[in-house]
Each structure stands twice: as C-alpha cells, then as structure tokens.
Symmetry: C2
C-alpha cells in the first residue's frame, strides 16, 4: 500500500499545491511568495524546495497527475478501440464522472492564461507527458511512432483549445460540450 512514508509525502505535496492555488486566487499569483505558501502549508521555505522547484511547479502539480491518469486510463481501454477513440472515451468519461476534476483543470488553465510564466510551465509539463501518451497510443494501435506522436499532440492541443474557449465563454456551457466540440473540429479539419 505504498508505505506510510510515501502517502504522507504525497499528502504534504497536495497540501502545498492546494495552498498555492488558494493563495494565488486570493491575491493573484504575483502577490504570493514561496514563504507564504510554505507557511500556509505548514512547512519551512526550505522544505518547499524539496517538493517543488518553483511556485509554478506547485501550482501545476495537479496537471501532471491528471495527464498521468489520462495515459494510464488510455492503456486500460478495450483493445478494439483506436488510439484517438480511446483518448476521447477517457476524457468523456472523466468529464461525466468527475466533473470537478475537469473544472479544476479549467481553473488552472485560467490562471495560466493570465500569467505567461505559468502558461509556459504548463505547456512544458504537457510536452513532457505527451511522449508517454504517444507511447500509449503506439502500443495500442499498431500505428507507427510518428502517427502516434501526431495523434497525441493533436489530442492535447485540442484539449488546450477547449480549455481556452471554455474559459473565454464565461463558462456557460458544460466543459464537456466544449471539449467534444473542439475534438470534432479536429477530426473534421482534415476531411474537406
């Protein structure tokens, strides 16, 4: 069960992340220092650096978790599905079953949209995990490595566009609808 040690560490990490998000929403990202986040999370500044290398890292911790979960979920989809269909199915299911997770993701994207440095880190994280996603796609279809990469990139890019749109639209629609819409556009974009 991963040992108490592991679990406690994970809990602290999550607590630091939560504190970072909360304070950033309250005062704006630039209005918060690492010292304050550390204090809010009940650890020392030096310990903060043991968990995250920067404020941006702390704010986007959940992003990495999320994409990792996506990759795992894609691997668990039934073998008949194509990679693209599998990815779509996973986010659809997520949007229905755990809407709050999607909303939190949108919230982080929103923060990122208003803060270039944060956006940069978010994109960097996604780029790193995009390779894992491509590998998952490649393992599933017998498809070649380039095709797999292209599919994974296109998929993540679609989700980014969807997040951006949804945040701009005053978040009227259900986030799932926006995601489906953008993914449909991506599929159709090359069929004319």
């Amino acid at each position: 069960m991963a040992g108490l040690r592991e679990r406690k560490k994970a809990a602290t990490r999550q607590a630091v992340h939560d504190a970072a998000i909360r304070l950033s929403l309250e005062r704006g990202i630039d209005g918060v220092t690492i010292d304050e986040i550390a204090e809010a999370a009940g650890i020392s500044r030096r310990s903060f650096s043991n968990y995250f290398t920067s404020k941006e890292d702390a704010l986007l911790y959940a992003d990495g978790q999320q994409i990792r979960a996506l990759v795992d979920a894609v691997r668990d989809r039934p073998a008949g599905e194509s990679g693209w269909t599998a990815m779509r199915a996973v986010v659809s299911a997520l949007a229905v079953q755990d809407e709050h997770i999607v909303r939190e993701w949108a919230l982080r994207s929103r923060l990122a949209m208003s803060h270039p440095a944060l956006l940069a880190v978010q994109l960097g994280n996604q780029a790193a995990l995009e390779q894992d996603l491509a590998a998952a796609v490649a393992d599933r279809d017998g498809v070649g490595p380039i095709r797999a990469r292209v599919l994974a990139t296109a998929f993540l890019a679609s989700l980014r566009v969807a997040m951006r749109l949804w945040n701009q639209q005053e978040r009227t629609a259900h986030p799932r609808e926006t995601m489906e819409q953008v993914l449909d556009e991506m599929e159709r974009a090359f069929q004319g």
Copy 2:
C-alpha cells in the same frame, strides 16, 4: 524607414540574442549568466533587462520573429488557397529558400529539448502567437473561429514534432523532408 533609433535598438536586441546563443552553445545554458551575456553584447546588465526579461527570452528572441514572419507570409498567400495549404506553402518555401533559418530554428529547438525551462518559454511564445496565426487563417478561409484555432494549433504542433524528430534523427535528412512527413501524417491521421 523606421528611424535610426528603432534600427539601432533592433540591432542591439539581435546582438544580445546572438551572444546568448553563442555562449550557451559554448558553455551550456546554465553555465552562462546574464552578466556574461550582457558583457559579450557590449551593454550593462541593467540594460539587458530593458531588452529581455530573462535569459530564456533572449535565447528565443528569434523564435518570435520567425512565427511573426510566418503569420505575415500566410496573409500574403494567394486567396484561393485554404489556410492549411497556405501555411504549408509558406514553410516549404522557407525551407527551400532560407534553409539556414530553418536550421537555426532547429538549433533553438534542440537547446530547448535539453533544458525544460527553455522549452517551457518556447511553447509559451508559440501559444501567444498561435492566436495571431489562427486569426490569419480565419480571415483567409471563411472558416469559423474554432476551426481556425484547431488548424493553427495542429500546424504548429506538427512543426514542433518535426523539429523534435529531426533533432533526434541525428539530423541526417533535410529538415524540410521531416516537416513534410509530419504534416502529411497530420492530414492523414483523421482520414481512416
């Protein structure tokens, strides 16, 4: 003709960028400080900050120039072409006529691949300019804003994948071939 002032400023900016690239190639990105870059470019550290907010910014200055040129070139393509075709035509022409520009771009991507913080900034820059590219596509086709965004994202994502591949492949092939290949894959990925 933009005034002496403007031109001189642009020249200095370029000089700083060049110095940053050169020193980073020599000693590795982390082995260079802003002070050293500033000195190599013949300005003070404080002036460096007037031109760029960070070392990453300085290293990737040409990236922004490049994408801006791409957007302008797309706007200048004949009206009959679809947005996607226009974008492809622009990079194809660029790869043939100014191969060195493409190689420098690949070089910067290579630097970015080995340095997460730099990659992050590169992606952030591209995301910012992606909106302009989407606007150019939207103006050209009568296509809707979402479709335009999707096309622009897919295109830039393809170029990133191509750069990554080309850099991994020991750069044997001509960069143009890799780009064409990835763009073809993107077109075909959704036609099965």
